[in-house]
């Protein structure tokens, strides 16, 4: 059985985890362990994703039990349908980013327009529009389409979703913004307000405004893993999303402003530790929140965990194409690697970002990162280019393409997947002819034909999607980058 030996590479986090376990706080790791072993059928893609609700039917991966679902669907159809279902969900997650622009045909940025056109042609040539969504939904209504059809539709949707994301991006992105990350942000006597999820911009800004006036103790707003732009910079990031609960267990955070997308585990932990939680969706009053935080600060336990103020790294997140291109080509590297994405408990937290950034730098790669991985690299003060958390890799591809430097890009690796959106983006990037890898397994191992199909379809577009049947090891991933 797969097991994990080290939960995190950060020694402070390890200390916090020990403290949490002394206090009997379970945190996400305990939940992870209690989930083991996870449903083998789902992990393999052999649990039917169709909605007939007679099952879910499952197919015996070793070919000695059920070979087909009740309707007659075989393992290849089942796996391909799951891929389509995940991609469809990913597209639906992307749509709100560009509420106005997703009705017609995608308007790709000029730099990748040709690649997109080639990909669309390879997938049959029908122009990409929101019709792909209803087509996908229809295919998932009853299992009648072939695995080929399902896989191709998944790729079309991934391409469409990636197009919508890039459309949304071209409208809003320019310049760069400073950021900082590390446990030092939690050091000293201060009222700490942790922000999680997609908290509303206006709330953050009014909180910052009100907090600026307060001294002794001062009030600090920190993000617990999310990259939240506010007032010309990113909210300081205390920890990555995988360690939000670890940090909360320290007792230093006095209040949590929870935006949509906050994990239920965080809310439950706050309830257990009597940390007040303010849902940002309810448009609360900033002064009231700070009052609550200050009250909680006064009630704080005698000796909460103290952090070393030196543990802070800083950087700049590049948003505009020009800035991204400049950052990636600083020092005129011959090779560029993109490595970013979300924390995954399948791997020691921080292991891939930190190990890989160092190793790739050692091999003369320029490294760019986004998301949790980027926060890890900032914490460690590694010399890497930082990208926006959601569209980072897409932005980098588009920027490099406009600068004519796309051949320098040797690969894009997702260190973990937070949601279907990221999977869709990874697929979409591969469909645009990129070399993409996923550090954690995706549920395609139940069907070799589907994996082959996906590989061949992507190869026809010049792209690669590498995924592993185990959480990837750093040396495998380094090898993957180097062999391109």
């Amino acid at each position: 059985m797969e097991t994990i030996h080290f939960k995190t590479v950060d020694p402070v986090s390890q200390e916090l985890l020990r403290g949490a376990s002394r206090m009997g706080l379970g945190l996400n790791w305990e939940r992870y362990e209690k989930q083991q072993p996870q449903d083998g059928f789902l992990r393999l893609g052999l649990s039917c994703p169709y909605g007939c609700l007679q099952g879910p039917c499952r197919i015996d991966p070793f070919g000695r039990g059920a070979e087909r679902g009740i309707c007659g669907l075989d393992r290849d159809g089942m796996t391909a349908a799951l891929l389509l279902r995940l991609t469809l969900q990913g597209v639906l997650e992307i749509l709100p980013a560009d509420p106005a622009g997703n009705s017609g045909e995608i308007r790709w940025p000029a730099s990748i327009r040709d690649r997109a056109a080639a990909a669309v042609k390879s997938l049959g040539g029908a122009p990409l529009s929101s019709v792909a969504i209803s087509e996908g939904a229809l295919l998932l209504a009853r299992p009648s389409a072939s695995p080929e059809r399902l896989a191709r539709q998944a790729l079309r949707l991934a391409l469409y979703g990636t197009g919508v994301a890039s459309q949304a991006r071209t409208k809003s992105s320019a310049g760069s913004m400073p950021c900082s990350a590390g446990y030092g942000l939690l050091a000293g006597e201060a009222i700490l307000v942790g922000v999680t999820g997609r908290a509303s911009q206006s709330l953050i800004e009014s909180l910052m405004e009100k907090a600026a006036a307060l001294k002794k103790p001062e009030v600090r707003l920190v993000s617990l893993g999310d990259w939240i732009p506010a007032g010309g910079s990113f909210l300081p990031i205390a920890c990555t999303s995988g360690e939000a609960e670890t940090v909360l267990s320290s007792g230093k955070v006095n209040l949590v402003a929870a935006g949509p997308g906050t994990d239920p585990g965080i809310l439950a932990l706050c309830a257990g530790m009597k940390i007040p939680v303010v849902p940002s969706a309810e448009n609360p009053d900033a002064a009231g929140i700070l009052k609550q935080a200050s009250d909680a600060f006064d009630r704080r336990s005698a000796a909460p965990f103290d952090f070393d103020p030196k543990l802070v790294g800083a950087g700049r997140v590049n948003l505009g194409d020009a800035e991204i291109a400049a950052a990636l080509q600083e020092g005129s590297p011959a090779k560029i690697a993109l490595l970013g994405g979300t924390d995954s408990l399948l791997l020691s937290l921080g292991y891939l970002p930190v190990e890989m950034a160092k190793a790739l730098r050692g091999e003369d790669y320029a490294v760019a990162s986004w998301g949790d991985a980027a926060a890890w690299m900032v914490k460690q003060e590694l010399p890497v280019a930082l990208l926006e958390a959601d569209e980072g890799p897409l932005a980098a591809v588009s920027a490099l393409a406009s600068a004519g430097k796309l051949p320098l890009l040797k690969g894009i690796c997702f260190s973990g997947l937070r949601n279907c959106r990221e999977l869709t983006l990874a697929l979409g990037l591969a469909a645009l002819g990129m070399k993409v890898s996923l550090a954690t397994p995706i549920p395609l191992w139940g069907s070799e034909p589907v994996r082959t199909l996906l590989r061949e379809e992507l190869a026809a577009m010049g792209g690669i999607l590498t995924h592993f049947d185990h959480p990837v090891r750093a040396e495998e991933l380094l090898d993957w980058f180097i062999r391109s």
């Binding site: 059985m1 083998g40 499952r58 039990g65 049947d469």
Partner: protein, 182 residues
């Protein structure tokens, strides 16, 4: 003697035990995602049996009078004196499948590719059987038969005592342990 006990009320029929047994005990890679790519396909030594409301995992019961041992043509099936379990010596098994015809539980499975019969050995050389470790609902448990005997004895004793205290002609509700006047 220790055996794998089953809490029938807890089994949901999810077959997790099957998948991980095959991966751990029959594959080269020892991981599920790796095992499914292997040929010949790994085989589990536990099977989920029964219908929608009474699923339960079934593996070798290590019968005290095991018909498979008598049936074995080569002596490959033997009882391990230390653990009391029925084991297959794979070096002696010639794949004649006679044992499979004698196991009333149907838990000895032929592996035609490897030309040996497979059966549960309670993961003898591991700390805990895989199926027990992976069961998400705790339906599988390693239990000591003597402990079970003790429990049954206590239950019998309690029942007998309860029965003795019931006036003649009245009804004893065993589950509640109290009597009802008729």
């Amino acid at each position: 003697m220790k055996v794998i006990g089953i809490r029938k009320d807890r089994c949901t029929g999810c077959k997790t035990c099957e998948l991980y047994c095959a991966a751990e005990r029959c594959s080269e890679s020892k991981t599920l995602l790796g095992a499914v790519q292997e040929a010949p396909a790994p085989q589990p030594r536990v099977h989920v049996e029964g219908g929608p409301n009474d699923a339960f995992p079934l593996q070798c019961r290590h019968c005290l009078q095991a018909p498979c041992i008598d049936a074995c043509l080569t002596g490959a099936l033997c009882r391990d004196e230390a653990s009391g379990m029925v084991l297959i010596r794979e070096d002696l098994c010639i794949g004649c499948w006679t044992c499979t015809a004698f196991c009333p539980y149907g838990v000895i499975t032929p592996s035609p590719e490897r030309k040996i019969a497979l059966k549960c050995d309670r993961c003898l050389y591991m700390e805990n059987p895989v199926c027990v470790d992976v069961c998400p609902t705790g339906a599988l448990e390693v239990v000591d038969l003597e402990e079970i005997e003790k429990l049954l004895h206590e239950k019998r004793l309690a029942t007998a005592k309860a029965a003795a205290g019931v006036p003649e002609g009245s009804l004893l509700l065993l589950d509640q342990g109290r009597s009802v006047k008729s």
